[in-house]
Symmetry: C2
Subunit: 455 residues, 2 copies
Amino acid sequence: MNDTVLTYIEKNRDQFLESLNDLIRVESISSQPAKKSEVLRCADLEVKKFREIGLENAARVETIGYPLVYGDWLHAPGKPTLLIYGHYDVQPPDPLDQWTTPPFEPTVKDGNLYARGSSDNKAQHFSHLCAIEAWLKTTQKLPINIKVVLEGEEEVGSGGLDKYLREHPELFTCDAVMISDMPWLDKDHPAIAYSLKGLDYFEIKVKGSAQDLHSGLYGGMVRNPLQSLSWILSRLKDESEKILIPHFYDDVKELNAAACKEVQSAPFDAKTFAKEIGVSELVSEEGYTPIEHNWTRPTLDVCGIWGGYQGVGAKTIIPAEASAKVSIRLVANQEPKKITKLFVDYVKSICPTGVSCEVHVHSEAWPVFVDRDHPFLKKTAKAYEQGFGKKVIFMGQGASIPVVATFQSVLKVPVILIGLGLPDDRLHSPNEKIALANFFGGIKGAALAYEALGE
Amino acid sequence: MNDTVLTYIEKNRDQFLESLNDLIRVESISSQPAKKSEVLRCADLEVKKFREIGLENAARVETIGYPLVYGDWLHAPGKPTLLIYGHYDVQPPDPLDQWTTPPFEPTVKDGNLYARGSSDNKAQHFSHLCAIEAWLKTTQKLPINIKVVLEGEEEVGSGGLDKYLREHPELFTCDAVMISDMPWLDKDHPAIAYSLKGLDYFEIKVKGSAQDLHSGLYGGMVRNPLQSLSWILSRLKDESEKILIPHFYDDVKELNAAACKEVQSAPFDAKTFAKEIGVSELVSEEGYTPIEHNWTRPTLDVCGIWGGYQGVGAKTIIPAEASAKVSIRLVANQEPKKITKLFVDYVKSICPTGVSCEVHVHSEAWPVFVDRDHPFLKKTAKAYEQGFGKKVIFMGQGASIPVVATFQSVLKVPVILIGLGLPDDRLHSPNEKIALANFFGGIKGAALAYEALGE
């Protein structure tokens, strides 16, 4: 590689950071209708930055929701085309009183940049724009063809991108997709993810009497919806963390011995991890370590529960109804709709007499699995190792990015999931941050990866 | 009986109702500090009414909480002394938008008087003041000695009365306590209750991580507090409605065959009852009918549950904690503190690893059991039969009035629980009402009962 590219990156750290801060100051909260003008302002600012760094055809692409931002540079004939994806929208900053610095005023402290959207996803996708700038400003060209697509609805379900991608796949034609929107394993282990979980999300409602009843006058005669809900939830998963829905595991493939060994040897210290999040110990499905369970096995979690009296003191009622929200994370080979049917049928089959039970399906998303032996992944790992100055490992991911499955199924190309975040970046929480070393290392890694992918 | 008493009652219905409405218009909500002056105004109004009807020594009696209202007439030497108890405080009227008439503007419609506090307890205790007035205005005397004690904190735990009663039992010395603060079995069956349930009320809190965790990044590694709470609650009671706490039933006495038969032959139609409250069927402990369970067996109900995300849509978290409120109604011979220990020990013993579990004891109250063969109860039943023009039955009660157990244990006299309410009076709910026929019949019944108890 032309050393001038890396030198340019080194010399322009302050300017990169300032330019990133321009983006972060825009309150592009896609879930809040009152912030619509801010979301659109962010899209326009991205278009401006695309043009400044030398991307061509830079423009807003209108969708049924917030616009995509598109730009490309396609003057490397015979070289692969890389599609870089990111998102310019952010989560709401609430609860505001827990922030120690203003959420939309980026603040550097102890080597971190604090702000809503810093790690998720502005710094992570902006690292690519900086890398492209470094190449184009110093060499007037890129070592491969590049398309950049940003969306403004990642935090609210990617509705616009999903539809546009299915209807206009030609805009996205490429040889690989690269996404920087995930964390490292820990601060010493940058990682490329080879899998993402699928996600089914349900709401269960158990209904009893027409209104709350006095627990004395009616106790012993009426089925209690809260008690009934607890019976239902207790039969979804047992204390060995095994999911009890019949046929739930039918399509799950066991890892082969080599893969098992690799996962088990991941640099992960359960005790330290438990201490960091404030639990007495980690738990996992019987027969699997916590990391095996999180990376390679489906999970089921009750995300919310409510019913009856939640105030101070005592109120003696048999509540009329109770509800719970349940998420199921799926692994490769599990089909979201098939799992939905198993879940709904099972919940209805275990609903006690005397109450009724409804299940609402909120969302269904496919899991993602990438061949970790693909040369693109290996080349990317090597490039980022140089950028970060640390060895890059391969890891499974317990989380989900639904649009990645859409990229896979529509474009049928490998997806390279290389993140700059750290597990303690507090995504979606107060005091979100990104480590500056990861941001600057990511710029170098990206610049080196483009070159490697062209070789 | 001097017929002039009954004639007086018949002729003064309008005046009785107007005088009752004076009391009802006072917003004596004991749980709301902002209504303190209204609660005190109600106490003063009761004192005024005591004096008007001819009770002596009428006065507010100060306690650690709201005052008692006391009055007596003790000029029947050789005759028994009856202590009549009631309460002048009421529940809050919320939710206001569900009332069809203003809650504190008593409204007569279809033979009912609608207002907050109408059935609970103003009309019920005021029926005794009307009966006393009828005796004293027509004959200048009562057939027995009578003390009337009202409290202003029944809806918030009776703290003031409880302490005062234990420290000054001499004020309450009597041969029997009479309380009108409960419903009939149904509109055709006035009832004397021979039992009240005890009540233990708990709050369980299950704690996991220091803060909510992303259900993807941490799923499969961390014990879920909501799932854990559902396991715990599911092990408190099974689907046969049997309570699973070890040794819970040890002190419960089975009814003898005759009592069993009596309970089973109570005029109660399960299908009609189920339809009225909007459930598909009644359920009860295996081996017991619903009415047996409600009257004679302990019950356990989850009264509230909460944790994690309760808003619209999906939020994928492993919540940091989950809570539930649980009430246990006890029957004769069960000791509240012993049951508390069994409950707390059991809940802690079934708390899963990886989370911690706290149990907060809100309250403990003793059950009440009255010898239904006591002559006072038989005489009262007969008197009220004449007053109501309907046969009075004996019934168990699923509900609790904690101060009754205190009366029993301090005064060691029989307690006569004769109510004027109906099961659909909507106590503590919008559109509370009392049937006027029950109020006026209750006045006659009381007047007749005082005479019968003196014979």
